[in-house]
C-alpha cells in the first residue's frame, strides 16, 4: 500500500474562540473501511467538512489521492472522487428518489437516461428499489438515510465519507444497513464512517480514530480503542474507566457507548 488515499496533516479550525478541530493528522488507507468516533461536539462533522472542502482549515493540509486538496471547493472534491453525506439528511425534497440519486449519477453520466438507469441500480443495491418513484419528502428516516447513501454512491467515489448514516435507525434497520455498507467497501470503495452506534464500528471498521474536543486522542482497532482508558473517559467522564474494567468480564458485548 503506497501513500494513503486521504492524508490529513496538522489540520486545525477555530470558530471565533472555539477550537473545533486542533492539529489532527490521520491517514486513511485505500480500500479500507474505517471509523471516526468520539463524543458529541468532538468536531467529527467539522473534520468531514474540512476534508471535503465545505470548510477551509486555518492550518494544516489535506491530501487526497496524492494531490493537495486543502480548501478545494466541495464540488471539485467530489469530482476528484471524495463524496460526503450529511449527518442531518439533505434530500432534494421536491424530487423523487430516482431523481435524487440521478443527480449523483450525473457526475459521470452525461445523458439523462443513463443517469436514471444508474440511479436505479444504485437504489437496488441499498434497498430502495421499491421507492424509486416516491417523493423524497415522503420517506421515513431510514429511507432518507439510504437515499443519502445512494446519492453519494452514485457519484462512484473513491472515498465515501459517511456521517452517522445509522443515526436514528432502529436495531432492525441498522442490521439491514450494515451489510450494505460492508458491500460497498467490498466493491473497492474506501469508506470512512462517523458513527455513534458502537455495534457498527465494532462490526465493520478495521481501524478507528477517536476525536474528543477537537483532538485525536486515540487510534487503533475497535477493540484496542474501546478499551483505551482515555477513550472511555472522554465518553463517560472521569473515573468510569475503572468501573467498566471491573464489569468487563460479566457484561455482554457493548451496546453503544454514547
Amino acid at each position: 500500500m503506497a501513500e494513503a488515499l486521504l492524508a490529513l496533516s496538522g489540520v486545525s479550525k477555530a470558530f471565533g474562540g472555539l477550537k473545533a478541530v486542533q492539529d489532527v493528522s490521520l491517514a486513511v488507507p485505500e480500500g479500507s473501511l474505517t471509523g471516526l468516533i468520539g463524543p458529541n461536539g468532538a468536531g467529527k462533522t467539522t473534520l468531514f467538512a474540512l476534508m471535503s472542502g465545505f470548510l477551509r482549515p486555518d492550518a494544516g493540509t489535506v491530501r487526497f489521492g496524492g494531490r493537495d486538496v486543502t480548501g478545494l471547493a466541495p464540488h471539485l472534491a467530489a469530482r476528484a472522487g471524495m463524496t460526503r453525506t450529511f449527518q442531518i439528511v439533505q434530500p432534494f425534497a421536491a424530487q423523487t428518489v430516482r431523481e435524487n440519486v440521478a443527480v449523483g449519477a450525473h457526475l459521470h453520466e452525461r445523458r439523462r437516461t443513463a443517469a436514471l438507469a444508474a440511479a436505479e441500480s444504485v437504489c437496488a443495491r441499498v434497498g430502495l428499489a421499491a421507492q424509486l418513484d416516491k417523493p423524497a419528502a415522503d420517506l421515513t428516516v431510514a429511507g432518507r438515510k439510504r437515499l443519502e447513501l445512494a446519492r453519494a454512491l452514485a457519484t462512484r467515489p473513491r472515498l465515501l465519507l459517511l456521517d452517522e448514516v445509522l443515526a436514528g435507525l432502529n436495531p432492525q434497520e441498522i442490521a439491514e444497513m450494515l451489510p450494505v455498507v460492508r458491500g460497498i467497501a467490498a466493491d473497492g470503495v474506501t469508506v470512512l464512517m462517523i458513527e455513534h452506534v458502537m455495534q457498527a464500528v465494532m462490526n465493520l471498521a478495521a481501524h478507528v480514530w477517536v476525536l474528543a474536543q477537537g483532538r485525536l486522542i486515540a487510534e487503533g482497532t475497535p477493540a484496542e480503542v474501546t478499551s483505551d482508558a482515555r477513550v472511555v473517559e472522554a465518553y463517560l467522564g472521569h473515573g468510569t474507566a475503572a468501573r467498566l474494567l471491573a464489569r468487563a468480564g460479566a457484561a455482554p458485548a457493548g451496546q453503544g457507548a454514547a
Binding site: F54, P74, T83, F86, F92, V103, R151, T155
Partner: protein
C-alpha cells in the same frame, strides 16, 4: 417524448386558432397572453427551476428592448438582425449580474433586492443618457412589412411571439430531462447537498440567469416591434418585473405549462375586470397583487402545481384504499 408532442400540439393549435380568428380583440388577447407567457417562462427558468427569485427581471427586458430600438433608430439596422443582438445583450447583462451576485453567494431576499437595485440603476441611466432618448424614449418608425418585423395584422405578431414561446417551452422541456436541468433543480432544492455530489452551484446558476435573461430580451424586442416605442419606465419599471413573476407563480413554478397557464389566467382575469369595471389605471396590478397573495396563501404550488398535487393526492388515496404499503 411526451413534452415534445405536447409542445408541437400546442403550437399547431395556436397556429390554427390564429388562422381562424378574425376579431382584432381576440387576436390582441391571444398575442398579449402569449407575450405574458413569454415573460413568465423566462422568469420561471431562473425562479422556478433555479430557485432564485428575481424582483427586477425588467432589467433584461429593458436591455433587449433598448437594443432593438437603438439598432433601428440609431443605426438603421434591420429588426431581424437586431433581434439576436437584443437577446445577446440581455443574456450578457444576465451573465454580469449573475456573476456578481452568485460569486458572492447572494440568495433569497438579498438576490431579489440586488436585481431590483440593478433594474433601478438601469432605469436611471436610461433616463439620463442621450442615446436612449432620455425620458422621452425612442420611437421606432412605422415601416410595415414582414421583412421589417412589422405586420399589418395582429396575426403576424401572434405567430412571432408564438415562435419565442415555443422556443422557451423547448428549453424548459430540455431542463426537465437534461443533466444541466437536474443540476439546476438540485441547487435549488439543496445547494450543499448538490455541491457534495459534484454540482458547481455558481456555473449552474449562471447558466440559468443567462438563459432567463436572453428570453426576457426577446420579449423586450418583441414589445418594441409591437408598440414601436420604449422609454425608461416601460423598459425597466416594476410593471414587467411583476407581471413576469406573478404569472409564473400563479401558474406553477418549475413546471412546463405553468407560466402559460398563469399568463392566461391573469390576462383573462384582467380582461374580465376591465369589462366589468372599465379601464381603471392600477386595477390590473391590484388584481395581480391580490392573486399573488391568495395563491401563496392557498395554492402555493400554483395552478399547474396545484393540479399536480391534487392528482397525486387522488392517486395515493386510491392506492392506500386498495392495499396498504409504506
Amino acid at each position: 417524448m411526451r413534452d415534445a408532442v405536447g409542445i408541437a400540439a400546442f403550437a399547431a393549435a395556436i397556429v390554427a386558432l390564429t388562422a381562424w380568428l378574425e376579431s382584432g380583440v381576440w387576436l390582441t388577447f391571444l398575442m398579449m397572453t402569449l407575450y405574458g407567457a413569454l415573460l413568465a417562462q423566462s422568469w420561471n427558468l431562473l425562479g422556478g427551476f433555479g430557485g432564485q427569485f428575481s424582483f427586477g427581471h425588467a432589467l433584461f427586458f429593458g436591455t433587449g428592448a433598448y437594443v432593438q430600438a437603438i439598432a433601428q433608430v440609431g443605426h438603421g439596422a434591420n429588426p431581424w438582425l437586431a433581434l439576436p443582438l437584443a437577446v445577446l445583450a440581455a443574456a450578457a447583462v444576465g451573465a454580469f449580474v449573475g456573476a456578481l451576485s452568485f460569486r458572492y453567494g447572494l440568495k433569497g431576499s438579498y438576490f431579489a433586492l440586488v436585481t431590483l437595485a440593478f433594474a433601478e440603476v438601469f432605469r436611471i441611466l436610461a433616463l439620463s443618457v442621450g442615446f436612449t432618448g432620455g425620458g422621452v424614449g425612442l420611437m421606432v418608425p412605422l415601416r410595415e412589412g414582414a421583412a421589417n418585423m412589422q405586420f399589418g395584422s395582429r396575426k403576424g405578431y401572434v405567430l412571432l411571439v408564438l415562435g419565442f414561446v415555443v422556443a422557451a417551452l423547448a428549453v424548459t422541456a430540455w431542463l426537465r430531462r437534461s443533466r444541466f436541468g437536474a443540476r439546476l433543480q438540485a441547487v435549488r432544492d439543496n445547494e450543499d447537498a448538490a455541491r457534495a455530489v459534484g454540482v458547481d452551484p455558481f456555473a449552474t446558476k449562471l447558466g440559468a440567469i443567462v438563459l432567463s435573461g436572453g428570453f426576457m430580451g426577446a420579449a423586450g424586442a418583441f414589445y418594441v416591434q409591437v408598440f414601436q416605442y420604449v422609454d425608461p419606465a416601460i423598459a425597466f419599471g416594476p410593471h414587467t418585473s411583476v407581471e413576469a413573476l406573478v404569472a409564473a407563480i400563479v401558474g406553477g413554478m418549475g413546471t412546463l405549462w405553468g407560466p402559460l397557464l398563469g399568463a392566461f389566467a391573469l390576462h383573462a382575469l384582467a380582461d374580465l375586470t376591465r369589462n366589468l369595471f372599465g379601464q381603471l389605471p392600477g386595477l390590473n396590478m391590484v388584481i395581480y397583487g391580490t392573486v399573488l397573495v391568495l395563491i401563496v396563501m392557498f395554492v402555493p404550488r400554483g395552478l399547474a402545481g396545484g393540479g399536480a398535487s391534487v392528482r397525486d393526492a387522488w392517486r395515493s388515496a386510491r392506492r392506500s384504499a386498495g392495499h396498504r404499503d409504506g
